[in-house]
């Protein structure tokens, strides 16, 4: 399984609003590449949920570049939206360098105080 090792073909992913450029291997999912590169305590520019294309947490819009997308829930990306470049980051892998922007739709978590 491609895991971003030096032998894989690498592409760079730029996420709008995020200074870190992410290296993603061809065959690797964009979301997993982001998770490897950006983690606590740094906020992740794209949300992580099911990592399986079902929940919509990682919804993005690809504004530049080519990619392939695996099957995912139509309730988060309709076929029309997919044609406009919307995708779930956990279901896409790059074929070239990509520019993406977060496009999460669901309700945000209400602010709350923890003890």
């Amino acid at each position: 399984m491609p895991d971003g090792s030096p032998f894989s073909v690498m592409h760079s992913i730029r996420i709008k609003g995020c200074e870190t450029t992410i290296a993603c291997a061809e065959g690797q999912k964009v979301l997993m590449a982001m998770e490897q590169k950006i983690h606590f305590p740094n906020p992740r520019p794209v949300r992580v949920g099911c990592r399986k294309g079902g929940c919509g947490a990682c919804r993005v819009k690809v504004t530049k570049g080519a990619y392939t997308a695996e099957k995912s829930s139509h309730s988060h990306v309709t076929p029309e939206e997919a044609a406009e470049g919307y995708a779930l980051a956990c279901r896409i892998t790059p074929l070239s360098d990509l520019e993406i922007e977060p496009a999460f739709l669901g309700p945000r978590r209400p602010t709350e105080k923890n003890e």
């Binding site: 949300r47 992580v48 949920g49 099911c50 990592r51 399986k52 294309g53 079902g54 929940c55 919509g56 947490a57 099957k71 995912s72 829930s73 139509h74 309730s75 988060h76 669901g106 309700p107 945000r108 978590r109 209400p110 709350e112 105080k113 923890n114 003890e115």
Partner: protein, 306 residues
């Protein structure tokens, strides 16, 4: 037997994006037994320690989520009684003919104010692989995967929580062992019709009809650890845990099926009796209520649903 009316959760029908991946997940990883695939494509499964024909039904669709959650009643008379009470309450009831699911009697279905479909039925065949009842061994074949013993409960997300609570307590005879009340209203309720800490739970959420998770019961904390080992071995997407819930006190892992439906493996939990007072959490402590060790919610808890 003093428990009358509804007995327990009996069936969940889930939508999955890819049936083959879903079967591998629910059969080989969670450890359910495969029962059948029917002509309409639905796949039926059951846990090894369940007596009846099936408990988990998978339907391939374009979006993940829950079709319905069904409770088993102690007889057709009870189902008819609930039908009358539900209709008198002003909720439309739909009939589902016997045999719509193999080995299953007629069911009634209705939509509750959170947008979910709930069903009630009385009859289902016993499984050919049901647990033994005469000088029984603890299992016939040793359990696979995460060794799920039964379908346990589900947590649903949707609007109109006060109406949902009223309906479940006044019409379906549930009681409420635990709840989270925020200054602007109830965030969540845990309800039971038995004396498990919960048979069904709801969290207030703007979109109707959503699934947060479906839970499978494991024997103990050791099996929770074993389930975590299985998740790493097969690269299953883990949400949170192993940890404990302050609410229900159950020990738990949240993880995802290949379609993005959240699953839980759950063990323990206190025994809830109808005459026990409700435990109440407020917004400042709900983190500890949901994840007792982390003492805070993770980002996905309130936003990731199917």
């Amino acid at each position: 037997m003093s428990q009358e009316g509804l007995l327990r959760p009996g069936i969940i029908q889930l939508r999955v994006l890819d049936m083959d991946e879903a079967i591998t997940h629910y059969r080989d990883r969670i450890g359910l037994d495969y029962v059948s695939t029917e002509e309409d494509g639905r796949v039926y499964l059951k846990a090894f320690d369940e007596f009846h024909r099936h408990s988990v039904v998978l339907r391939e669709a374009d979006s993940a989520g829950i079709d319905f959650f069904a409770f088993k009643a102690d007889g057709q008379e009870a189902v008819d009684g609930f039908r009358k009470r539900i209709e008198d309450y002003g909720v439309a009831v739909e009939d589902v003919a016997a045999g719509e699911m193999p080995g299953t009697g007629k069911r009634i279905g209705f939509t509750i104010p959170s947008g979910h479909r709930i069903e009630i039925y009385a009859d289902m065949e016993l499984s050919e692989t049901a647990p033994e009842t005469h000088n029984p061994y603890i299992y016939k074949d040793e359990p696979r995967g995460m060794r799920a013993q039964r379908l346990d409960h589900c947590l649903l997300y949707g609007p109109n929580l006060p109406e949902v609570e009223k309906f479940f307590t006044e019409v379906l005879d549930f009681h409420i062992p635990e709840r989270v009340d925020l200054p602007d209203g109830t965030l969540a309720i845990w309800m039971t019709v038995s004396n498990k800490a919960h048979d069904i739970a709801f969290v207030n959420h703007p979109e109707p009809g959503k699934l947060h998770h479906v839970a499978f019961f494991l024997e103990d904390w050791n099996d929770i650890g074993h389930a975590a080992d299985v998740m790493t071995r097969y690269d299953i997407s883990r949400d949170l845990g192993p940890t404990r819930h302050g609410i229900t006190r159950g020990q738990t892992i949240y993880f995802f099926d290949p379609s993005g439906n959240r699953n839980e493996v759950f063990c323990g939990g206190y025994t809830a009796y109808k005459d026990h007072p409700t435990r109440i959490w407020d917004g400042n402590h709900v983190g500890r209520g949901i994840f007792y060790y982390e003492r805070q919610l993770n980002d996905a808890f309130l936003s990731v649903v199917t």
